[in-house]
């Protein structure tokens, strides 16, 4: 034993680099270990969140299995739970949000990246960044007191009057509902689409534009037929990021969606979403009820995990393409 311990420090200095002991004396090794613990705790927390959600949803997972996602019942008094209405509401509200936000956001990003002079573009981008910093509960507040009455008094009756023959616009105008939540979500995610798309468009090499203009295309044709297709995967990335935000958004949706578990083709109908039902019910829930809610949280986690992963992949692809072409 004694011999083996004495040989270890002797072996150190012969290895070329500074020995473990001398690095320890400098504090370098201690610093490395301590900062490593902090970095590792990020991984640990992330893993813990997944494990905790998985573990605390086991009652519901064991009871329903995959059927959880096709059941429409949500009955806390009889302890019978299915996720379909909430998944539906989340997808519909986010879908409406994107339908409005993508054209508007992409248009604004094109203006900022292609048309506006640098100074104006930077100033407007600054305001867009501030808009992205507005907390979601403020959007909810404005939703409740501005958007909902507006929808109830003007927009929904108008939609019923003109397009009322479509199944999309049936039923009484409550003000709250899928469409209202979608509109509020759209306003919320537009800044994300603009910021990321603008960055992606700016990374498109100059010669792409110049080549198109030299061939006689108009400014819009060079933008729409050359620059935007070049940046396509990055723009898709920005849309996925926005979708991930919209799916997980809680406050703004909870305040305007109506909180009524319904599946209806009508966009005017009140609905519910995954995040909203968690926000409303979690504190009172226990047993299978609690576990069903936590399983919904797990679903939300899975949705956003996949979307964020795809978005990052697409964004990396475009920026690589842009920088690679830039050297040509």
């Amino acid at each position: 034993m004694a011999t083996s311990t004495t040989t270890v420090p002797n072996a150190g200095p012969t290895s070329g680099s500074r020995s473990f002991i001398s690095r320890l004396k400098d504090g370098d090794e201690i610093a490395r270990i301590i900062t490593f613990l902090f970095a590792a705790s990020v991984v640990l927390i992330t893993v813990l969140i997944v494990m905790q959600l998985w573990h605390d949803s086991n009652l519901s997972r064991e009871k329903y299995g995959w059927k959880f996602f096709v059941k429409q019942v949500w009955d806390p008094t009889n302890d019978d739970f299915g996720a379909l209405t909430f998944v539906y509401g989340t997808l519909v509200t986010s879908g409406i949000g994107l339908l409005i936000a993508v054209p508007l956001g992409l248009g604004a990003a094109i203006f900022l990246a292609e048309l506006a002079p640098q100074k104006i573009s930077d100033t407007l981008q600054f305001f867009i960044d501030l808009l992205a910093a507005v907390p979601s509960v403020i959007y909810g507040l404005l939703g409740v007191f501005i958007v909902v009455p507006l929808m109830r008094e003007y927009i929904q009756p108008a939609l019923k009057g003109t397009l009322g023959f479509l199944p999309l616009f049936q039923g009484p105008p409550f003000g709250v509902g899928f469409l209202t939540a979608g509109i509020v979500l759209a306003i919320m995610v537009i800044p994300y689409i603009i910021s990321v798309s603008r960055e992606v468009l700016l990374s498109v090499p100059r010669d792409q534009r110049e080549a198109a203009l030299a061939l006689g295309s108009t400014r819009w044709e060079s933008t729409w037929k050359v620059v935007v297709p070049f940046a396509r995967s990055g723009i898709m990335g920005s849309i996925f990021l926005a979708l991930a935000r919209a799916l997980g958004e809680t406050m703004a949706v909870t305040m305007v969606v109506g909180n009524t578990p319904t599946i209806s083709a009508s966009l005017l109908s009140p609905g519910y979403s995954i995040a909203a039902v968690i926000a409303n019910d979690l504190p009172e829930a226990s047993g299978v009820y609690l576990h069903a809610l936590i399983e919904l949280g797990l679903v939300l986690f899975a949705f956003t995990f996949i979307l964020n992963g795809l978005a990052r992949l697409l964004l990396v692809l475009t920026t690589q393409k842009g920088s690679g072409m830039g050297h040509v």
Binding site: V42, Q52, L53, L124, F127, T250, T304, N308
Partner: protein, 283 residues
Amino acid sequence: MNARLRWRKFVSNFMLTLTGICAAIAVSALFFILGYLVYHGGTSINWDFFTKLPAPVGEGGGGMANAIVGSAKLLLLASFIGIPIGFFGGIYMAEFSNSSIAFVVRFAADLLNGVPSIVIGIFAYTVAVLPFKHFSTWAGGLALGIMMIPITLRSTEEFLHSVPRALREGAMALGASKWKTIMSVVVPAAYRGIMTAILLALARVAGETAPLLFTALGNRFWSPGWNQPTASLPAMIYSYALSAFEDWHRQAWAAGLVLLALILIVNIFARVILARGTAVPRS
């Protein structure tokens, strides 16, 4: 000029104008939001709002002093969790890590950054509320702190990476150890950027409501210590906005104005003054 070319030029101008309108709509949203908050909430902001407890229904007046203090306490707790882990983790990522560990940590941080805040809230609820059978300031601070980690870590890493190699080499050549180099040369060089990122992270979690609903919950009164439910500005806005009382609606608008003003001031300060000359990474 033939008709086809005229048509193409018209389309070009038309579409480009349309993109300008899109940008104008997006930016004007900010001013609409601010304008409405000032219009509806401005009149309810007075000395009482900052110094008094919420008044019972029907009495009128009252303030949100407990929510303001509650928010401050939650942010303090969040800072104690989010800043050290993010800052030192970022130092490890930029200065010590090898590529495979860096990949894993970066992946986890990006994943954590994308997790919806309500899911973080569920986590805090299951680890810090259920086992103790009561809501607490601790639990709310934990949820907000976890949300701060990835933003602080990634931006610390990025700003440290942007410090020129020559600075490190200069310090090392003078005989400084690696840790000494980092703490006395590299970190001070990246100081403004890191401060900016931390302030932006704080501003972001200051407005978070979803993770507080079932961790810090809310409280009509003062919350002594750290072990009891506490009021917070965002949660107050939520419950007051959905109440049925005209008085409370006005208070919700006022609280919204105060919260947004604080967040925008911190954002503007961080982006314009502190970050002058450094590139601010966007969320």
